[in-house]
Amino acid sequence: MEPLSSPLFASLLAAVSWLVIAALALVPAGNAFFARRLAFPLGALIGLSLASFGLQSIWLHAEQLTLPLGLPDLPFHLRIDPLAGFFLLLLGSVSAGISVYAGGYFRTETAGRLALISLQYHMFLASMAFVILADDAYLFMVAWETMALSSYFLVTTDHERPAIRSAGFLYLLVAHLGAIAILLCFGVMHGGGDYSFDALRGAELTPFWATVAFLLAFFGFGAKAGMIPLHAWLPEAHPAAPSPVSALMSGIMLKTAIYGMVRVIYDLIGGVRWEWGIVVLAIGAGTTLFGVLYALMQHDLKRLLAYHSVENIGIILLGLGMSMVFLGFGHPLAGALGLVAALYHTLNHAVFKALLFLGAGSILHATGLRNLNDMGGLIRTMPKTALYFLIGALAISALPPLNGFVSEWLTFQTALQAPLLEHGVVRSLLPLFAATLALAGALTAMCFVKVYGIAFLGRPREVRHPAHARAEGGGHDAGSMEQYGMAWLAAGCLVLGLFPTSFLLMLNRVGVSLTGQGLSPEALESSWLWLVPTAPERASYSPIIFLLVVLAVVLITIRLVRGFYHGRVRVADPWDCGFPEQTTRMQDTADAFGQPIRHVFGPLYLMKRHLPGPEEANPRYSIKIEDRHWYWLYLPVARLADYASSKVGLLQRGRISIYLLYSFLTLIALLIFVR
């Protein structure tokens, strides 16, 4: 193996370079010159190269490497295969955009904070790369938990605020519990050899233990991915972090959980069963709906985006679940299609969610605002950001011809393979899950109309906010580095949306490497213009033609209208409906926009409303939506632990005689036992 031409070695080198950048951040010279000027652009370059190595490895055979580190009997094993390559591509390319953005975003930090952020940021990136490259349980766990730890410290960057501290705590706690489940899963899979993935792959499991391993992996990784009911940390932690970090976490880190799920379930456990798929589908559907419905209720922009991450994880799970159902029933073609759809959505979500979080970061930087209810009219002060954010918003709303649509379309196509299934109930279940997806897609569109309409359009809603003086008067658009970062990701949305076929071929390689079979030959032989999931007469989609036609039609219309009619325009005040005292506060707020949803889905929410009375001089409506999971899952568990510890506490009442009695009784009991 030529080390230099090997993508595995090169990826390792890239990951180590991130570690080196992290370490260099501690060099205090020149007001943290390195961290301020060089670290992030360099990190972005490394990300790009990592993406290219990953891309390369998708088309190659799997490679392995062993490092002389780690446990005595279990040195660090590394491996790169199409699946790992795909996720490296995701990590590298998305993080490149985020890193460029971060280079601009963090520039104004104080030296000490900046050094810490740069250290943890690049450590975070490197640990994610190692998670993907790991080929044994130990290295995987080390990288996995390092990832949790470094992101925890990033989340608590602004630790002066108590809310952020508790968010960080919750985050790390859930992450740790998830990690414990994953560890247990590796233990269950273990079949006598060591803990390298090769040995785990080779282990023969009975159906019972395979199912146990599946459930452990699913919930362990699901805790990280933010699926319900283990999602509670996500909407707390992601908004708490600085925006580029939120982008990294939502965009990439959640995907490492998907990676882990696919790796463990498809690759290590193998022999996927359809019952597992039903579990995944059920949780996925719940997660999807829950995520989007709660997102609609949010008025904190970053929190809203975080809930959308929950939703999109649900969509990915729907794809995975369908794939598992088909594979379990012995339909590898449809199974591969589901997997491809899920992985495609993984990549898409990484790109547009990162873009949206970066946009939210720019808003926060420029105006200091996170609450949508205070925003409005930002399109005038930050037109570039508005454009990029619009692309992200359309993409996440699954509107053609952007990328979100492609993966949802593929998921729908997978669901439409349902007639293949012999099992009547399952066959009719799949379209129902597709219906959830449809509902979620439409709700997402509603939510992003709300976000975009309220943040960027209209007029500033609240003047009481001091930051608004800035936003109205001297508000500024994002800096150039930030814009480059967002432009890169926006371009990603377009490319992924317009050229899906090349990505489909790539993902097909991943599917082949995992399930042994890929998409149908007809699908693979279709030209680059046409996206064909199974056969051209069944379904096809060509985003380019689509876009060209829309553009052509729109241009023709403009041309015609301009050509035939005059272009005279008068600018006036908006119509006041005969009520001259219109104020900006009379616009819809984010809370108001969610009102139909609250009405339709009322029982789902735990609402605390404050309705202003007729006498109030300064009436304000406010609403607080709480997550029911807190009350039926998290708090009871916490109370149970508390109760147990209060009972255990009774053991130790301070009286020495009692302590002596314990020793005495222990002795006597053991003596009796010995006899």
Partner: protein
């Protein structure tokens, strides 16, 4: 097989030891407790000396001498002095009433005997049957420590446990090697000194040697 005379005497002394242990368990007055403790030490020393004489293990004489010096003379004297200085001559309060304690003690003794019987069968020493008694007196001292509420009786309980251990050593094996015996004795001595220091500190802090004052550190 009839026991030789020395064996019979040792057995007698062992019974005395056990009786003294019970007496200490039942005793309410500190001064008497110290006296009983001294007597226990004396019985231990005599039995050790007899074993030494009967078996020709010369180091046991040394051990007996050490016991006399420490447990019959030095430690009771130290305790007396402490009690004089600290003026703690009150009656002893117990957590459990005396009859119950005695009943528990009898149960313990039976348990100890049944536990020791199979082992003492293997012993080759003339004193082997006393192993059960030694174990019983260790457990009885333990029980005494549990039920006493004041610091001084607790310490006496501890020391009497040490006596039981010594007795076990002589009865089962004709005593531990000398270096160990010396080490143990040193530990006991230092321990007693430290106890003494503690009595003063405790008294200084709490105005009493009642360990009920020392129940502040706990989980709530």
């Amino acid at each position: 097989m009839a026991l030789p005379l020395s064996g019979q005497i040792v057995n007698l002394l062992a019974a005395l030891l056990l009786l003294l242990a019970f007496a200490m368990l039942a005793q309410r007055r500190v001064l008497t407790l110290i006296k009983l403790f001294a007597w226990q030490g004396a019985a231990l020393a005599v039995s050790t000396a007899i074993v030494a004489y009967a078996t020709g293990q010369t180091h046991l004489y040394f051990s007996a001498g050490l016991t006399v010096a420490l447990k019959v003379v030095l430690i009771p004297w130290l305790l007396h002095r402490l009690i004089d200085q600290l003026q703690v001559r009150w009656d002893i309060e117990t957590l459990l009433n005396i009859p119950t304690t005695m009943l528990a003690g009898i149960g313990l003794a039976i348990f100890a005997f049944s536990l020791a019987t199979p082992i003492s069968q293997m012993a080759s020493t003339i004193t082997r049957s006393t192993l059960g008694i030694a174990l019983a007196s260790v457990l009885l001292s333990f029980l005494m420590m549990i039920v006493r509420r004041k610091a001084v009786p607790q310490v006496i309980g501890f020391l009497s446990m040490e006596n039981g251990l010594f007795f076990a050593a002589t009865s089962a094996t004709y005593g531990m090697p000398l270096v160990v015996e010396l080490g143990v004795a040193l530990d006991v001595l230092v321990g007693t000194f430290i106890f003494g220091i503690f009595f003063f500190h405790i008294r200084e802090q709490f105005d009493s040697l009642d360990i009920r004052h020392m129940e502040k550190l706990k989980e709530d």
